[in-house]
């Protein structure tokens, strides 16, 4: 259906999906792309890859998740040793794991280290200290983000 301009009823826009009326699913091709990049304040033609999972948790004391997306749980395996479990699995294991940890317990540099990757979970270590082989340590603020 074409766009119809009517002086009485206004503009009738194409309704091409199963939902009655004009909605986001009626946007296609360049129109949809322009709307999405505009909403994200993105300029240029570089593609956008969205975050597939993320979590912010407290790894000290009573370990607890502050907020998360596409994460069903974290597994506390030991000191500075956690597994992030995805609600919906990744398409493969070639995703990028990004993270940071604020180590309020030790008050020194902290490191994040991925150890085991699967489509359903990623196991990470948080390490603390300036030594050559810093020990694992719990971080009060641990944030993990997955891109694919």
């Amino acid at each position: 259906m074409a766009i119809i301009l009517n002086g009485t009823t206004g503009i009738t826009t194409p309704d091409i999906d199963s939902t009655a009326g004009f909605d986001g699913e009626d946007l296609t091709g360049d129109v949809a792309a322009a709307r999405i990049t505009g909403a994200l304040n993105a300029t240029g033609s570089a593609p956008i890859y969205a975050c597939r999972a993320w979590v912010n948790f407290n790894g000290t004391g009573a370990v607890a998740i502050r907020a998360a997306g596409n994460v069903s749980s974290i597994t506390d395996n030991g000191v500075g040793d956690f597994t992030v479990n995805f609600t919906t699995a990744m398409p493969d294991v070639n995703y990028s794991t990004i993270g940071m940890c604020g180590d309020l317990t030790y008050g020194s540099a902290t490191y994040l280290e991925g150890t085991t990757y699967s489509t359903t979970a990623v196991r990470i270590l948080t390490r603390s200290g300036y030594t050559a082989s810093p020990a694992t340590g719990d971080a009060a603020i641990t944030c993990i983000t997955i891109f694919r």
């Binding site: 009573a62 370990v63 998360a68 000191v79 479990n85 609600t87």
Partner: protein, 60 residues
């Protein structure tokens, strides 16, 4: 608030902290506990908060 605990292959204790993801704790246990591992669902207050000897924790 509950936690899921199970014994690791090394004899330690793994503690699963559920996220607010729309799944029940039973569904999370079925999904995130390694296959074949017995597990327990416990109250969060039953988990020690002093993690000084965390790697030495055992299930009793």
């Amino acid at each position: 608030m509950n936690r899921i605990i199970y014994q690791t292959n090394e004899g330690g204790v793994a503690i699963i902290v559920p996220a607010d993801c729309g799944l029940t704790i039973e569904e999370i246990a079925a999904k995130d506990v390694p296959a074949g591992k017995p597990y327990q669902i416990v109250d969060v207050v039953d988990i020690p908060t002093d993690r000084t000897f965390r790697n030495a924790w055992e299930m009793t």
